[in-house]
Amino acid sequence: MTVRVQAEDFDVAREIAALRGRDARVGAVAAFIGLVRDMNEATAVATLELEHYPGMTEKALSGIVEEARSRWRIYDATVIHRIGELKPTDQIVLVAVSSAHRGEAFAACEFIMDYLKTRAPFWKKERTPAGERWVEARASDDEAASRW
């Protein structure tokens, strides 16, 4: 398992190569990449500041990956989440899962992402031409996490 919280960008191809390694049992890798958009709720976003709770973040992400392991037959998983100042088009998060077959890889990847959205201690603050504001949590994220 790889869990990292970092200010630097990540290279998706390199991370997936590391996830696969030389493991010939791997028949499927599913990956999700979250990106910064230039609009949120009809407001232009100039930059995004990502804050987290050091210590709890890593523990929460590892716990979510362990939960995925207990529910699906996956071989390995990588979760990388960026912090600090980000701008539109930047990568924010990578979740990648390896498995023998696509079904388990897709499901585990989506599960990890849904749980991350509601349980990992990250907060976004948007800087817009009109000033700065904390992003509000969405009820749809709770609904997405509750279906698992």
């Binding site: 990502l50 959205k117 201690p121 907060w123 976004k124 949590a137």
Partner: protein
């Protein structure tokens, strides 16, 4: 003693990142601690009012109203998370 940590919007509105306080002996759980902090009045009462979306973690794990708090704990207060 317990360590209280405030994050994101709560850190800004309360004007405090963290503090170490003596745990009053009558406080046994998260609900009791929240009620005690509201007693500081003004911004504290408003930000931590019942019905406000405040999440709490005890020793780096998500907690509920009845989660016990003990001397030596680190207890964090924050708004619902918005990562990803």
């Amino acid at each position: 003693m317990i360590t209280l940590v405030y994050l994101a919007r709560l850190r800004e509105s309360l004007g405090l990142r963290s503090e170490v306080v003596e745990l009053p002996p009558q406080i046994r759980n998260v609900a009791g601690l929240l009620s005690w902090l509201r007693g500081r009045g003004d911004t504290w009462a408003a930000e931590l009012a019942p019905g406000r979306a405040v999440r709490v973690a005890v020793n780096l794990d998500m907690a509920k109203a009845d989660t016990p708090v003990r001397a030596g704990d680190e207890i964090a207060f924050f708004p619902p998370v918005t990562g990803g």
